[in-house]
Symmetry: C2
Subunit: 428 residues, 2 copies
């Protein structure tokens, strides 16, 4: 009985939050860039001046999670200090400096009948964000949504509940000080998993859901939501060394793709080497990777070419499908470009694939035939990134095909509206 | 036991069809426009030469449905004659004449580090279409998918099962005669509702689902699918007559929006009249609408202004929310532009709203504040249409905000791919 009552209360409360967000979104939609940027700076100022209160609330979360056995890595991502709060405030000022994604004319023409037609970018309305226990994401999400004219309904991890509630309260105060509605940014952390489920099914109130986090979180949101969702981020990325690949370039790109940063979605997880290049390139490749402490999972042909100083773990079928997110790399010799494409088509998550080649035909076949968000020709997989692509703030990297594919900037938090101007036009 | 076995068989068969479609989609993705157009013409030729076989299969469907009590309107939409088959073949040739939506460079730049970046349009891959018993949609869907480089998995109404199976067989023969894979166009009608459910959840195999049909069909697909879906078509469209609206223009646009064609999603369903214009405009408006046999559901203020010859049915709350799709129209006097916007925000399905005005401020407020796919300023709601907007073939009119909003052309059946060209670029 109590459970049912609580469930009904949660549903009412979360739907009510979404409704208030929808109302707030109407005032946000027509704000000028100046008004939005002023609010972003006010939010940054408020975070800095309220940093002690935020750090205090965060300490409660950190203590509880430490006692509960959270790993030191996750505890570090959860922890806020006054310096970290200042850095987060800096991110708000950065977003204020980005162009306004709203009001851009995407297409337009005068039709044969004289009707003047425009397609303009407009805010989505209400954006739901579901993410894990990193309080900085709360601020990022609020900033990106505000800049794109959207209201935000946020569900962070329960581990960061105190931190998020204080942060949202501070941001709401700053919004009010600028004459904007508090309800433009709301947290539903207090309603737990049940609240998240209500958010995922608030069709008509929530216009888009953006999950940010690990595989499990994203798959849950994608499967359980009836609200349209943007799927982000799994990356089983490949680097293919073609027959014609210069050795030095092959080594540089393979090492950078795997080891420049570990645990990111655009890092390489499998290296494929054309058999005609293998004898020439493989020893140098394996040596350079081993020098970066990469654990190499190779097929038999790879093992046969490995220098004595480099040890190779025998690769299994599972390795080809694994996104290690660590200093591990699967390595395989392929018979041809065709074989490389077939292998990638079978195992890719559709994020990024790179080819190292001097052969224009190989580059064209690789880039046109693989069905993936990004192709790098003679460049590291690590370039698939909103910042590197010049999109400004990155909301995530979409591996789905609907709406956005690859790095998403502020523009991907907008939709469009057609406006037609006539002088009494009717259809004959 | 038998049911379970059948369910397993259906799942295997439909997933297998999707897998074959995925394989076929890889050859379609890199076809030239010339090859696609040649196939479209071959499909048209085959439909014409096989018309007798198609009409014969269709007669079985029509007979069964007639015996089953299908209404004459639906029977007419189901029925094929040789002339109708020829008209459908003509639609294929029309699609052949449209520009190729694949390979368009959407964005591109040279990054500060010299990496040359392009964002190109590419096919989605496998498009699922779920629609009602109109065999012409089978051909339309196959044509639009082929032109956009996608494989199509089609689920038409069970009432058109024989017709669709023969049509798909004819189209597959034409594909083969051009050296293209049969599996590029497949029907899963034989697997009934269970098959449709498998299609709706074939994540990873089906890239996008496009439902075409009535409210019930679209809502079912949107709610039950885990595959990304494009929602099309409900239109509770409004025409607002502003205080400054010239009488003649107001009458022309209101009549055209309601009565130029009945039963279409871009027809008006509610007319709102500013109180300061009501005494001047309303009698002429109501008379002109009544002359077109429009049944008027009015509020009290409307009734008070109606000429004696025009009868008004008292409007209820339900009228404001109804998409009649008939010669009915709800009519209301509003106190202000604000009231009109509030009313529309409450009842709109987000399709199209029109304003008739001479006041630039009213036009701007109306077009910027309403959250809807299309706004008509001094033009009929009937212009929200892919053909009218110059998009060529129309796949549907999206009332969702993700991916596409408003009339969708071939371009909306594509996604994008980023391609970066370097000469050994690595991230520092």
């Amino acid at each position: 009985m109590t459970d049912t009552v609580a469930a009904v209360d949660t549903e009412t409360a979360v739907l009510d939050a979404c409704r208030q967000a929808k109302i707030a979104s109407r005032s946000l939609a027509t704000l000028t860039r100046a008004a939005k940027d002023q609010a972003l700076h006010a939010m940054a100022d408020a975070l800095v001046s309220e940093a002690p209160r935020i750090v205090e609330a965060n300490a409660i979360d950190v203590e509880r999670e430490r006692a509960g056995g959270m790993s030191s890595g996750l505890l570090d991502r959860l922890t806020l200090t006054e310096d970290r709060v200042a850095a987060i405030a800096g991110a708000l000022r950065y977003v204020a400096g980005l162009p306004d994604p709203v009001g851009e004319v995407r297409r337009g023409s005068t039709l044969p009948n004289g009707l003047r037609l425009l397609q303009k970018s407009v805010p989505m309305g209400v954006v739901g964000m579901i993410y894990e226990a990193r309080p900085n994401v709360t601020v990022d999400a609020a900033a990106l949504c505000l800049k794109s004219g959207n209201a935000a309904v946020l569900r962070g991890g329960s581990a960061a509940q105190h931190s998020n509630e204080v942060i949202v309260d501070v941001l709401q105060g700053a919004l009010e000080s600028c004459g904007l509605p508090r309800d433009a940014v709301q947290s539903i952390d207090a309603y737990g998993r049940e609240g998240a489920k209500v958010l995922m099914n608030a069709r008509g109130l929530v216009d888009v859901l953006v999950p940010r986090g690990g595989h499990g979180l994203i798959q849950t949101v994608v499967k359980e939501s009836s609200v349209p969702t943007i799927e982000t981020g799994e990356g089983n990325c490949h680097v293919y060394i073609d027959a014609s690949a210069p050795t030095e370039r092959a080594v540089a790109i393979a090492v950078n793709s795997k080891a420049q940063r570990v645990g990111v979605c655009n890092a390489a997880e499998t290296l494929l080497v054309h058999k005609d290049a293998a004898a020439r390139v493989m020893p140098a490749l394996l040596e350079a990777l081993a020098a970066e402490s990469v654990v190499l999972h190779g097929d038999e042909a790879t093992s046969a070419l490995a220098p004595e100083t480099v040890s190779i773990v025998a690769a299994t079928e599972e390795d080809w499908a694994t996104e290690y997110l660590s200093l591990d790399l699967a390595v395989k010799v392929v018979d041809s470009l065709e074989d490389a494409i077939d292998h990638i088509q079978r195992y890719t998550t559709g994020h990024t694939e790179a080819i190292v080649t001097d052969d224009i035909n190989a580059a064209e076949a690789f880039s046109s035939r693989l069905d993936t968000a990004a192709i790098m020709v003679n460049a590291s997989t690590r370039f698939t990134d909103g910042g590197e692509f010049g999109l400004g703030a990155e909301i995530g990297i979409s591996t789905q095909k609907l709406h956005a594919r690859g790095p998403m900037g502020l523009g991907e938090l907008t939709t469009t509206k057609w406006i037609a101007y006539g002088d009494g036009h009717v259809r004959p």
